[in-house]
Structures are given as structure tokens and as C-alpha cells.
């Protein structure tokens, strides 16, 4: 093949440009810290990166959901605990009333007054609201401000569980309605009617001890129902805790994955850059050697 000065020059320029282009590539990678800046850099990695980013966005939302769920469940647990305490106090007072005898009207009236006061407290607890939204905690999905009216009738809307997504496929119920925790108010089977009944019975003289005993037994049932509600809430809280741990783990994993896909391996890129630099310098050196001499240098 016939080689001319111009083809030598052209080759040198091409070589130097190629080296510079490769150096620019690594310089870009190092200065942005990213190896993946556009889909064509690596289509498969782009797909992975987008999936991972979606996963991270979902996880981010799930951890917010988990915080909300934990807050609601903790609140429900606290109030159910308070309610349990109040119910125990009613139980103690009722037993006192039964022991005092049917005819001690004064002391029974005093007991009745205290029980009525406890019922008010119970209604207050039952109407407690979710801290974040002001929604009644035990009112289901009611649009009103209270779960129970002052007369003890239920104002909540049941049948529409409030759920929060805590995993890609796992949703958990985060509320418990008044009906579930305190009994069905519509049939008069609930805690508040029962306590009202006990107070009413103690207020009548002589006290109907048989009926009162029956109420005491029913109160036990109501307390058992509260315990069940509490353990249900506790079990859900435990699931949420597990989900939280899982979310934290997955967040770390996905962040690491995304970094592995998108971020530059600094050590490697630096080495590659140095290698390219050597190549570039070699190309320049060769150009200076090859382009310089012609036959003219040797003709006299």
C-alpha cells in the first residue's frame, strides 16, 4: 500500500481524536459520578435502574404508610388499655354494690353516681380521634366528628375497613370499630348500654341483685371482647413491625443495587482514564515523530 504524508496526518488525527473521545468519556463519568446517564449507555441497565427506582419510590411510600399504621395502632392500643382499666373499675364497683346488699340505698346511689361518671369517661375514650387526621379512632369511616353520641348511640360507619399497604402485596387493616371493640350498640349489647344499665339498677331500690349479677357476667364478656380487640391490634402492630424491618432491609438492598447500576466505579474509571492518558500521550509522541521527517530532510 502506498502511504502518503496526508494519510499519515489523517491517521494521526483520527488516533488522537479517538483517544481524546475515550478520555472525555471517563472524564464525564468521573465528574458526574454516573456511568448511566442515558438509556443507550446500557439499555438493560436502564431497565434495571428504572425498576429499582420504582421499587425505591414504592418502599418510600410503604415506610410512610408503616409510620401512619404504627401511629394508629399504637393509639388504638393505648385507648383500649384505658378502656380496659375503666371497665375493671366498673366491675369492682358493681361487685361492691352486690356485696353491700340490696337495701343500702345510699351507698348504692353513690356507686351508681361513680359508675355513671365512669361511663362518661368511657364515652370520652371511645370518641378519641386519630392524631393525624382528627377522624374518630373507633368510628370506622364516618364523616362525623364522633364515634358515639352523648346518649351512647353509635355514630360510626362500619363495613369499610381502613387499610394501609405495608409491603408490595401486603395490606393491613389499621382501625378497629366501636362495634368490634365495645359491642354492638344497635342491639343494646354494647359496653356503654351495659354500664348505663348497671348504674340504673344500682339507683333503684331495692336493687335487683339477680339482674345485677347477670350484668356482671355480661361485663366480663365485654372485658373479654376488649382483650380480644387489644390482642388483635397487638398482632397487627407486630406484623407492621416486621414489615418495617423488612422495608429498611429492602431499602438498603435497592439503594445498593441502584448505586451498583448507575454509579461510577471510581477506582476503575480512574485507572481507565490513566490508561487512556498514556494512549493519548503515545499518539501525540508518535505523531511528532512520524509527521516530522520527509525525504527533504536528507536531500542537499
Amino acid at each position: 500500500m502506498r502511504i502518503t504524508q496526508r494519510s499519515l496526518t489523517a491517521n494521526s488525527i483520527t488516533g488522537i481524536n479517538n483517544n481524546l473521545a475515550a478520555m472525555t468519556k471517563y472524564q464525564n463519568q468521573l465528574s458526574t459520578g454516573k456511568v448511566l446517564t442515558k438509556p443507550s449507555d446500557s439499555p438493560t441497565d436502564t431497565n434495571k435502574s428504572m425498576q429499582t427506582r420504582s421499587g425505591l419510590a414504592a418502599l418510600n411510600q410503604q415506610s410512610r404508610n408503616i409510620t401512619d399504621a404504627t401511629a394508629r395502632l399504637d393509639q388504638a392500643d393505648t385507648y383500649l388499655e384505658t378502656m380496659q382499666g375503666l371497665a375493671q373499675r366498673v366491675q369492682v364497683l358493681t361487685t361492691q354494690g352486690l356485696n353491700a346488699g340490696a337495701n343500702d340505698a345510699t351507698s348504692n346511689a353513690a356507686l351508681a353516681t361513680e359508675i355513671s361518671a365512669l361511663r362518661e369517661s368511657m364515652l370520652g375514650v371511645a370518641n378519641s380521634t386519630v392524631a393525624s387526621t382528627g377522624q374518630p379512632l373507633f368510628g370506622g369511616v364516618t364523616s362525623g366528628k364522633v364515634a358515639y353520641n352523648a346518649d351512647g348511640t353509635y355514630a360510626g360507619t362500619d363495613g369499610y375497613p381502613i387499610t394501609r399497604r405495608i409491603g408490595d402485596t401486603e395490606s393491613i387493616r389499621v382501625d378497629i370499630t366501636g362495634t368490634e371493640a365495645f359491642g354492638d350498640a344497635a342491639t343494646g349489647d354494647d359496653l356503654f348500654s351495659l354500664v348505663q344499665g348497671i348504674a340504673d339498677k344500682l339507683n333503684t331500690s331495692p336493687v335487683d341483685t339477680d339482674a345485677l349479677s347477670a350484668d356482671l357476667a355480661e361485663l366480663q364478656t365485654a372485658q373479654d371482647r376488649l382483650s380480644t380487640a387489644q390482642s388483635t391490634i397487638g398482632a397487627r402492630a407486630a406484623r407492621v413491625e416486621d414489615a418495617k424491618a423488612l422495608t429498611t432491609d429492602r431499602d438498603l438492598t435497592l439503594t445498593a443495587q441502584l448505586s451498583a447500576i448507575e454509579d461510577v466505579d471510581i477506582a476503575r474509571a480512574t485507572l481507565e482514564l490513566s490508561a487512556q492518558q498514556v494512549g493519548y500521550q503515545a499518539a501525540l509522541a508518535v505523531a511528532s515523530k512520524v509527521l516530522q521527517p520527509t525525504l527533504l530532510d536528507f536531500l542537499t
Binding site: A10, S40, G134, S143, Y160, T163
Partner: protein, 469 residues
Amino acid sequence: MSALSSLNTARQALAAQQRALDVTGQNVANVNTEGYSRQRVELASVGGSTVPAIFSTSTEVSGGVSADTVSRVRDAFLENRALGEHASSARLTVESDALTQIEASFREPGETGLQAVTDTMWSSFEDVSGADSDQASPSAVLENIATVASSLNTTSAALDRQWTQTREDLSATVDSANATAAQVAALNKQIAQATRAGLSTNELADTRDALVLSLAESIGATTSVGSDGMVNVLVGGSSLVSGSTTTKLALVGETSLAEFSATGSAGLSVQTTPGGTKVTVGGTAGGQLTVLSSTIPTYQTALDGIAGKIAAALNDGNTGGYLSDGTAGTALVGASDGGATITAANFRLLSSDPKTLAVSSVAGVASSDSSNAQLMAKLGESTGVSGDYRTLVTQLGVASSVSAQSLTIQTTITSNVDTARESVSGVSIDEEMTQMLAFQHGYQAAARMITAMDEVLDKLINGTGRVGL
């Protein structure tokens, strides 16, 4: 054979060597001229009379040397190949650049791409609480939908702009091709005249061939040999330059992407004018035409599909639910031009009133239920629109990366052909210097020849016939 004829032979030799030195000088002068082909003097020995006569037979040794022809050193096959390869390079460059620009319009993967804003939008549905009295969480959802709308609008507008710009570029390419074709025709005419007059056409032909190469790059021209040293230039089988006449080309058809999509495409083409015959162009124009009629519309259509799916998911989700007051939800997004088809360009949030978000699943009565919002949060994955978008971006990445690779390969091929052309036609200084020495020596020898003949004649004229003087 006479002494004077020897003198004449030497004179011819002097002239021929000088001519050869002239050409060497011309070659050296153009060592770096783009498109210059090195020239050679075709030295030929002139024989004696080859026709024997009855009464006189020639005993002449020869008639000296002739240096009439100066030829261009050039490989026609390589030149033709160069036209094709340069056209391919130009076409692939345009296509690859267009795909890179489309990638930039999509802004993936990253925080500002459609994927990130739609993810945020879908997940914000899970934050919605029906009991939110100041409507902060539904407002946030609507804000996020508006962000998705503006992201879709922006990407669509970027594609639109790219289409319009490419069309302007194509129009300019066609215009400049017309101008170049006219120059080629003018040079053809000069070359034909010079050829008929027996003059050298080498420099004119070099200029013309460089113009033809630029035509190959811009519209994919090929050539066929014409008469009197002219070339005919063809584009996609139609004649662009025939001898000294040209056919004009013009870009006709739709002037905007919207119009292009609406008419279903067929109109956009490069045609001869007058005549209106469709011409299959290559090179830069071919690439631009592909970008206009296929590349950009493909991604615009795909993006419109994504926008339509997001809109359908949002609207179906919202109409399937109920507002906090129990009334049925209505469509959330629509077309900004009021049309029935929602595209990426006209995707718009219909109302910014947070109460229009159908958060509840409870029909007829007011409630603080937010289970419909929870359901809608999953629509991005369940309707497959997120996956579709990922597929679109991945396909775009594959197309762009394949195109870039093809361009790299084609660039190597083109530069190899150019190197081969340079190898044949390029001026080598070393070679020219060697030739120069050879011609210089030839000239010196011829001069010495004259001196020798001079001495011989001197002897003959002044030294003979003087016996006894």
C-alpha cells in the same frame, strides 16, 4: 540520422523533463489540497518512421520523447465506493444524532423523567385520608397529576420541536443539493468544452468530483460516466445532473408533526420539480427523511399511548369511586383541546378542586373512607402502564445504542475507503522528491547531450576541411 535531429531529440528531452518537473511542482503545491488527485506526465518515446518506402529506408534510431498527456491518478471503482460509503455515514450520523436527542427529551433514568413523577403520583394516593379536613393530601395528589401532565406535555413538545427543526434542516439540505448540482452542471460544461479543445481538465475534474462527493453525502448521489469527460449524477435512480443540465429537487408535504400524524404520513417526500416524481434520497437527506417519517412519529405515538393509558387508569379509577360526600366520581384528566383522544400533548388535569378526587368506595353517603384512593395507588402497576413505559425507554435505548454502533462501524469502513483513495490519489512528498531528482538528472543529461552535439558540430564546422590551412 543527422546531427541536427539529435539536437532536436535533446531539445524534446529538455522540454519533456521540464514539463515533468512542472507537474511535480503542481503535485507538491497541492500536497494538502482536499480532493486533489496527483498527476503524472505520460512520457512516451517517439519512434522513427515505421512505414518503409521503396526508395528510402529510414535508419533513424528514434524521434525522441513526447510529454503531451498529463493524467490524473485515480481509481474509478474506489471513487464510486466512496460515494456509497460517505452517503451511508451521513445517513447513520443523522439517525444516531436524532435518537440521542430523543433520549435527552425522555430524561431517563433520573429524578426528572416521567417514570419518577408518575411513581410519585401513584404512591401519593396512599397518603390520602378521607378525613383530611383541609384537603391537603388530595390536593397533593392533584398537584402530582398536574406534574405528570406537564412532564408529558414537555416531552411531547420536545419531540414536536425536533420534528420541525429536522424538517427545516432537510429543506436546507435539499436547497444546498440543488445549488451544488448546478455547480456540477456548470463544471461539466467547462470540462466538455476543454476536452473538445484538447486542454487539460484535471483541476476542473477534481473540483467537480469533490462536489459530487458532497452531493453523495447530502442526498446519496451516485454517478455514471457521460461524454466528453462529463459525469451524470443520479439520486435514487432519477437524474439530478445530466451533462450540463440539472433537475431541481424540492421537499413537499406536511410541515408539522401534528399534521403528519393526522394525515397518516404519505405526503412527506423529496420530489423533482417540475415533474413531481418522488425521489428516494440517501445520505443526510435520507437520514432526515427517516427521522421525520419514522423515528420521531414512532416515539411520539408510543408516548401518546402511555399518556392515554395513564389517563384511562386515572379516569376509570376515579369514576369507579365516590367523593367524600358519596356522589360518584368523574373524570380527572382530559384533553386540553376538549377532544376525546388524550395524547401526551393535550394531557391535562380537569379540575384542581381536591374534592373532585374520588377517595371513597362508599356510595350514596358521606364518609371518611379512602379505600378507593388506596386502590388507585396500585393502578400504575396493575394496568401495566409503568411496565409499558419502561419497555419504551429500553427500546429507545436499544435503538440508539444499535444506531451508534452501526455509525462506529460505518465510520471505520468510510475511513478505510478514504485511506485507500488517498493511497492511490494522494501526493507523497518522498515520491515527488525522488521523481524531481530523476527529472532533474534527465534534464541535466539532455543538456549535456546538447553540449556534446555542440562540440561535434563545432568540430565538424570549424575543425574539418582545413587540411593545409
